[in-house]
């Protein structure tokens, strides 16, 4: 599904954010991406989204080397990936329903299909009752659930989340993890960058650790502090 081969990224200012990353994520996996601040987690995600270009190496998404894809085709690549950010990124002048429908409109989905699909994802994230609310009337967890609903509404095979619980209290964070687990159970591949140790420890999912731009660990059912525990 996702494969990094000898990927390095040097920013124009000379910072080597990633060096020689090799990893493979299979369809349906749930993978945590952990590491200290500045380790290069967001950079790895940006490469997948084609927001930044890899300096060397190849990145495969569904067997297509996206480092070789021309600019014109970037939108097509992005339609295969749903994204969720720490800061939610909702449109404040649109209701919950409209925020989600918007993601379908911009790729030209039939109105009938939009009317069918939006209530479906709203119930998946348990927000059916808030469909007509504006983001300012929602809690942080609800914000993030709307963002998740928007990310999956077009049925992308991959969902990427960059610190989705970063702005949420622990209880709410678990709510979000529950939603993500459900989505993963439905067959969506999930890659989540996070600092939340207890979440990573409790979920018992695959953990990839990055330090100073290098991949230093890849544990099948790891925990955040695994390394420290085993010493």
């Amino acid at each position: 599904m996702i494969k990094f081969v000898n990927v390095s990224k040097e920013y124009p200012n000379g910072v080597e954010a990633l060096s020689n990353i090799n990893l493979e994520i299979k369809k349906g996996e749930f993978v945590f991406l952990v590491g200290a601040s500045g380790a290069g987690k967001s950079t790895l995600i940006k490469l997948l989204l084609k927001e930044e270009e890899a300096t060397t190496g190849s990145i495969y998404l569904n067997d297509i080397d996206i480092t070789r894809v021309r600019n014109r085709r970037i939108p097509r690549i992005r339609r295969n990936i749903g994204v969720v950010f720490q800061d939610f990124r909702l449109l404040h002048n649109k209701t919950v329903y409209e925020n989600i429908a918007f993601a379908m409109e911009i790729i030209g989905t039939r109105p009938k299909e939009i009317r069918r699909r939006v209530p479906m994802v709203l119930s998946m994230v348990d927000l059916s009752r808030k469909a007509s609310h504006f983001p300012d009337q929602l809690s942080g967890g609800e914000h993030q659930r709307v963002a998740i609903a928007r990310a999956i509404v077009n049925n992308p095979p991959v969902l990427i989340a960059d610190e989705p619980t970063g702005n949420l209290d622990p209880d709410t964070a678990w709510e979000i993890m529950k939603v993500l687990s459900d989505i993963n159970a439905g067959g969506t591949t999930i890659l989540m960058a996070t600092h939340a140790k207890d979440i990573v420890n409790m979920m018992k999912k695959r953990v990839i650790v990055i330090e100073d731009g290098k991949m230093i660990r890849d544990d099948e059912k790891g925990g955040y502090d695994h390394e420290i525990q085993t010493i």
Binding site: E51, P75, R78, R79, F102, G108
Partner: protein, 301 residues
């Protein structure tokens, strides 16, 4: 196809929304485009009027008069006439005897014709050939050929006037173009800054659109439409202002009997269509280029 149509509809809708939200700054864009177009209008009217004048003058002056010496022989006459007829660009050659010339003068002078009486016996006017040319440009060749032929006294033609007029018209054209170029650049700058405001206001939305996989065309479309709409409004405004403004000027000049001007000035009705086409083309052109310029940098993300 229907998907494309839905996307297209969205783009149009957002374009109108953008224009409406941005209407405050839009006034600046529309006024700058109008100002440019109105100045263009004045330049255009000048150029068209001068063109008209040149054409008219060319029509009036595309003949050569060859005055003959009184003592010209028949052989010389035939030689001259044959030479002329052998030249390129000749429409007609007319022999005008001195008697005919005098008659014409009498007709032209009408009431003062009595002054010419008594001249018949000792007519001071020369015999002449009147050559009609297809175009004044042919004149020089003809003149060169016959200038020094025996029996030719003097040649009259108006090449110089026409040349001066053409030169003048060219100066006006070039000057007009330079002024226009500068003004167009200024208004592209103004409109691109206006649209930058919409872009900035919708930055979040655009970023989200990108993450969800909207194409560049879909993102750019509304801004281009916003720019085109500003351009179109500016164009319509200036068409109305220039047409009626010029119409008023034209009429008052005519009423005041500065008839010399009205001969030169082109009629307002004659320019309405051209004016509309040119204004709308340039207005929407400025609008769309302005909006593309404003997004150039930000679209590479």
């Amino acid at each position: 196809m229907t998907m494309r149509f839905r996307l297209f509809k969205n783009v149009i809708k957002q374009g109108f929304q953008g224009m409406w939200r941005n209407r405050g700054m839009g006034v600046a864009s529309v006024s700058s485009i109008s100002a440019v177009l109105m100045i263009l209008g004045v330049v255009l009217i000048l150029i068209l009027s001068i063109n008209e004048l040149v054409l008219e003058t060319q029509g009036k002056f595309d003949e050569i008069e060859i005055f003959l010496q009184d003592e010209v022989t028949d052989e010389q006459l035939t030689l001259i006439e044959d030479t002329i007829r052998g030249e390129e660009g000749i429409l007609s050659v007319l022999y005008k005897s001195k008697d005919q010339a005098l008659e014409e003068y009498k007709e032209q002078w009408a009431e003062q014709a009595y002054l010419l009486e008594g001249l018949e016996s000792d007519n001071p006017l020369p015999n002449s050939y009147i050559i009609q040319l297809k175009d004044i440009d042919f004149a020089e060749n003809v003149v060169k050929k016959i200038k020094y032929m025996d029996g030719v006294e003097k040649i009259n033609y108006h090449k110089e006037i026409i040349d001066k007029l053409l030169l003048f018209a060219n100066y006006i054209r070039i000057g007009g173009l330079v002024v226009m170029g500068a003004l167009v650049a200024v208004s592209i700058f103004i409109i691109s800054n206006t649209i930058k405001l919409t872009v900035a206001a919708r930055k979040r939305e655009i970023q989200i659109m990108k993450y969800v996989g909207a194409t560049n065309g879909y993102i750019k479309g509304p801004f281009v439409i916003e720019g085109v709409l500003f351009g179109l409004i500016g164009a319509l405004l200036s068409i109305v202002l220039v047409y009626y403004g010029y119409g008023y000027f034209f009429k008052s000049v005519g009423d005041n009997l500065y008839s010399m001007f009205t001969i030169i000035l082109i009629e307002p009705k004659a320019i309405l269509l051209d004016l509309s086409i040119i204004f709308i083309a340039i207005g929407t052109g400025i609008g769309s280029i302005g909006s593309l310029v404003s997004m150039k940098r930000f679209l590479n993300v």
